[in-house]
Subunit: 345 residues, 2 copies
Amino acid sequence: MAMDALHRSLGVHRVLEPAGVLPQAAARLDADPRIGPDEVRIAVHRLNLDAASYRQLAEEHGGEGDRVRAAVLGIVERRGKMHNPVTGSGGMLIGVVDEVGDDSPLGLEPGQQVATLVSLTLTPLRITDGLARWDGRSEQVPAAGTAVLFARSIAAVLPEDLPQEVALAVLDVCGAPAATERVVHRSGHRPSVAVLGAAGKSGCLSLAAARDARAGRLVGVVRDEREAAALRAARLADEVVVADATDPLAVAAAVGPPVDVTVVCVDTPGAEHGAVLATADGGTVVFFSMATSFSAAALGAEGMAADVTMLVGNGYTPGHAALAMDLYRHSPGVRSLIEPRVRAS
Amino acid sequence: MAMDALHRSLGVHRVLEPAGVLPQAAARLDADPRIGPDEVRIAVHRLNLDAASYRQLAEEHGGEGDRVRAAVLGIVERRGKMHNPVTGSGGMLIGVVDEVGDDSPLGLEPGQQVATLVSLTLTPLRITDGLARWDGRSEQVPAAGTAVLFARSIAAVLPEDLPQEVALAVLDVCGAPAATERVVHRSGHRPSVAVLGAAGKSGCLSLAAARDARAGRLVGVVRDEREAAALRAARLADEVVVADATDPLAVAAAVGPPVDVTVVCVDTPGAEHGAVLATADGGTVVFFSMATSFSAAALGAEGMAADVTMLVGNGYTPGHAALAMDLYRHSPGVRSLIEPRVRAS
């Protein structure tokens, strides 16, 4: 690809300052709703602010809704995107496809309801209703306006057969099952698989993906007996065991014979060494937790002379959104674990 | 492996407190020089303290050599290992193999001069000379005493044909070329490869390893013209280009057509996005820099819709030390880049 086509596909042409950086690194984007040939315009219906970003804004403004709303409007006006300058985080948005450029590779059509799976920190955004329907007291922001997707943005069409909250909950973690499927598929004949944090959203979807990819022995590791009972009832794993993911020897003992693939879906720090110890020589560990420490993983494997391949879980694999939705639709076990979480939130 | 054999191989039986953790996490180890059947005793000749650890000790004790020496002796006496409680770091040691248990899998023989490649933070250590030959003013600590290796420790026999300083400099980074060789070998027919930080120790060894593994087009990325001249003279890459590794678009432009494998050997933060952008869809990025941010890598790839496999560089691959030594011996280009660094240090 020529360099200017690469730049366009990443949205570099929308960067106003500083020139020549990627949109996420930009101080200000051009949010003009007129789209180029490889872009897509979305009519925005709702912003889902990143939890850390909303919390910071609420604290800074003493929890006063009007002031929080004014702050969000100010950021979007100033930066051309909802990129909290303190937390550095954004969120995602829901809307309807409004116009699709002739050269857009995203496969979208006008009228489709979509959720963006790339961060608001790199999405050109214009608000046209002053956020009049938002009281400033929740991360869920009803909004009217426009957003622009680039050739290399990611948006998922929201399915009509699932409640929007369910679809968003599944899309939020759809990278994990897609990557798990790929790793299991590449790990030879019926590899054994352990999932740490197996009763959570990404964990149960990863178990289902591993089984779909013809895993052999399938072990779900959870933190307590309550989760174990729920996971056993869901019938997603051959074995369900309880262990503190931050205790390496306890994890290894609970998993038993080391497995070919370990998938880390726990959201607490300190799970790196247990994952490595639970994995057989020549095996693979996939880290999906944002709490993963790069150095703890690298030095831990070295310190235990563990010949394992360690993967940084990539949130993007082609087809990841559709795969996760299908797993949800076709696995009663996955539904039994995710539905209560959606209802509770 | 039965759980108690696993525990023994990792040295858990040497942990005095708290019970049941791995040696690195222990407050205190049993440094008794009498070895078990799967252990090895080393007669210690020198400790190389971790730079961060030495600096902290020197600052805490006002740079006074006698006090620094007393502090190191106190730590080893109290903890049974040289594990700086403030920095959490250790270092490595050089010595001679003294006794080898019948069941040790390390393949060592008495009389061999070795360097430990696992951290001092998990190595049982006893000092017997009061560090009388050390003035406390350098990270290099002449010492007499004993250390114990477990079944899953790693020690490299120091070659007789290379100066000790050269061998240590190469061993320090030997994980990178071994992992690079493996990834290139697994990446199909003559994959193209880019190395960021290609003129450094781990970078030039990784280039040589990639060529040995039958890489196709080989690109070395360096930070300035001085490094570029040195790398061109070393003839380790087909193309040598200059780019700021923390500028993603500059890296992508410098590398040109995206490569199948990108190896990150720069020691500054912020190289994640450039590495991802320089890599073709379906390709692999190997992160060897301890400055790598897990979340920057994961979110960056997602934000750019990049379908790349990202690996946490594992410092351990079987045979890594011998491979790195061989690359050094047989590649005049590698020697031309590493020798000046050793002389300068």
